[in-house]
Symmetry: C2
Subunit: 383 residues, 2 copies
């Protein structure tokens, strides 16, 4: 396998998504459920070059619906950059001139990695609901295999926001010898009952969409109502009440018209949400959404690594931690990050915790890039 080397300059930020095979019939991937996968591919991107000492590798994990494309463009005229592009560059959080950065689409994803929307080579048909349920741990094991193929042993850092943070924590506890630093942004050691409840409603909407058809929907006849409903609801939980108030308030979509007294998308916030729901259909798969929300629900770091004790779980790692939360995030409120930081301090670990001011809600982990650069860059690059 060759590494895709990038010269990270303002004029040359082109990156290509690559694919690695991390499980084969000879080397299957055992899953936490007891099942195993005989064919697993991971889509991934790399930025920068692994140095001779192999000491500059950073693994970034993405959140629920993102992908391997964390920075750069796919071609010269690509209108969109990767989801954390603003964190990449000289003096910023991630510097491809000095770091070797890896980001892979999660196991179970639908952005190039093997998941419910992939063809099962054993049957020649889409996995659909025959895909086994997976966990954060399964995702992490698959990515460790990718790193081995890339020649990466020890990681300078694992980094993740939201569900990406779940993976970063699991990675750090599962492979403590391989992780020097952990960066956690807007995350939690487990989902609250409320968060599980929102996911349950999302799955209910999809599973009961007549087009879902036990997961055997066709491209022409997808459970679009269920999936867009799920996304619209989730989207509300990613934004803060104050952000919605500031951006839309009670403003009508067509204020000059006044109240229309009908069931059109009358308020601006309605129109916005419906747009978000529809746009999501173009980039995400309904079955995959079922699997990945279940991954979220199952995640409980204390249960997985400490027999219910977060202290016991984190005692497994000696890594340095940087933990950031956002004031207006009610999906993973500051208290979730504080619980992790407090546990690490109890263990005498090197931990920096900062609550960043933001009105952007949970989405702040994608939007507050200046603040993230300010705290991540020194954590990763100073001695």
């Amino acid at each position: 396998m060759t590494h895709h080397t990038l010269h990270w300059t303002d004029t040359d930020r082109i990156v290509a998504t690559q694919v690695a095979t991390v499980a084969t019939p000879q080397n299957p991937l055992p899953l936490e459920s007891g099942a195993e996968l005989k064919h697993v591919q991971l889509a991934y991107e790399t930025y920068g070059t692994l140095n001779a000492e192999k000491s500059n590798a950073i693994l970034i994990f993405h959140a629920l619906t993102a992908d391997a494309h964390v920075a750069g463009k796919h071609h010269e005229h690509d209108p969109k950059t990767g989801w954390w592009d603003a964190l990449f560059g000289e003096g910023l959080a991630f510097n491809p001139a000095t770091d070797f950065i890896v980001c892979a689409n999660v196991l179970g994803g639908c952005k190039g990695s093997t998941g419910a929307s992939s063809i099962n080579p054993e049957t020649g048909t889409q996995w659909g609901m025959n895909f086994p349920l997976i966990t954060v741990g399964d995702m992490v094991v698959a990515q460790k295999r990718l790193l081995e193929q890339l020649g990466v042993g020890k990681l300078k850092a694992v980094v993740g926001g939201s569900m990406g943070g779940f993976q970063a924590m699991d990675f750090a506890l599962r492979y403590p010898e391989s992780v020097e630093r952990v960066v956690l942004v807007a995350t939690s050691s487990k989902l609250s009952s409320q968060a599980i409840a929102f996911n349950a409603v999302a799955r209910y909407a999809i599973l009961n969409d007549p087009n879902w058809n036990e997961g055997n929907y066709t491209p022409e006849n997808q459970p679009t109502v269920g999936l867009s409903t799920a996304r619209m609801m989730a989207h509300i939980t990613y934004l803060s009440e104050e952000a919605l108030e500031a951006k839309f308030g009670r403003r009508l979509q067509a204020p000059a018209q006044g109240k229309t007294f009908d069931f059109q998308k009358e308020f601006a916030v309605e129109s916005y949400l419906e747009h978000q729901g529809k746009a999501f259909l173009k980039r995400f798969d309904a079955n995959t959404y079922l699997y990945l929300t279940k991954v979220l629900d199952y995640f409980d770091l204390a249960e997985a690594w400490g027999e219910g004790s977060l202290l016991k779980a984190f005692s497994l790692t000696q890594a340095k931690f940087l933990i950031a939360s956002f004031t207006s995030d009610w999906r993973f409120p500051t208290a979730c990050s504080q619980a992790i930081a407090k546990t690490l301090r109890q263990l005498g670990r090197d931990v920096s915790f900062i609550e960043l001011s933001s009105t952007a809600g949970h989405d702040a982990f994608l939007l507050e890039t200046d603040a993230l650069n300010r705290i991540i860059a020194p954590f990763l690059h100073s001695l």
Copy 2:
């Protein structure tokens, strides 16, 4: 019209829902939209007897999905009492021995009053989506007509929680000469952008359910997926995060089984929510849910009565106010009640505001009956 007189004792709390005609072709009900209704019936219940001075009448308004049956039982073996039954009795908030209490199902409702699920006498078929959109003001005007039929002029008090509070406020500003006291529980002078957003997703789920069929669904083929999805989501917003955590946490429905690695209702909170969604189908109509959530969205007291100024709006009334919010209510947080109380104080009005401690979230207005009795009883009954 005769009044249904009740002797309110522990052994005789039987009440019958009655029906009044409040609009006819000769006396139609003009609506805020410009439309009018030529046939309006309101289902209502009364408790106690109007005294000779007609000075003991209290009007209670219900919330989004409730009904006229605020207290008592419908028959001797009725397993369920009315939704605020615990507030009725000697020494409690409402005393049928001394008060004459009225509660009507809202205009646009589906519990006996005229709404989308009613037969339009002009066509002989269900109104469905031909029913005009209505507002809190329209509901209030209809109920004023009911009071006139009952011989009630001046009200000792108007009382409401949540959407009931919307009506109580509108009534107090619309008929200032008729209202001595106003009791507001867990309410707001308008919906936030976030609350509109949740309603928008609820309506999206119903409007896009294939069974909805432009509102012309049959009893056998209703938009059950859309309506139950809407209810499940709304239910999350009625409960506090801490209530969900305490009641369900991350507990599995069948803990002995461990993770099932399938898409059954695995967590207890999932199972609970799905039960709530299904139960709702038996007692509520999908089109009605569309209309009533729109009533919520449209409500803006300052806009309706004060050209955007809450101060100007409340300057219309001289009534005494009792306002209560709950610490864990994130649907209508304390700040919403505080804004109303602050405005009334600026106007020099007699206003008592109290934030009650509760972990029950918005649903506290139905559950914290001891606290409500303690504050409402003296407000209504002392001189």
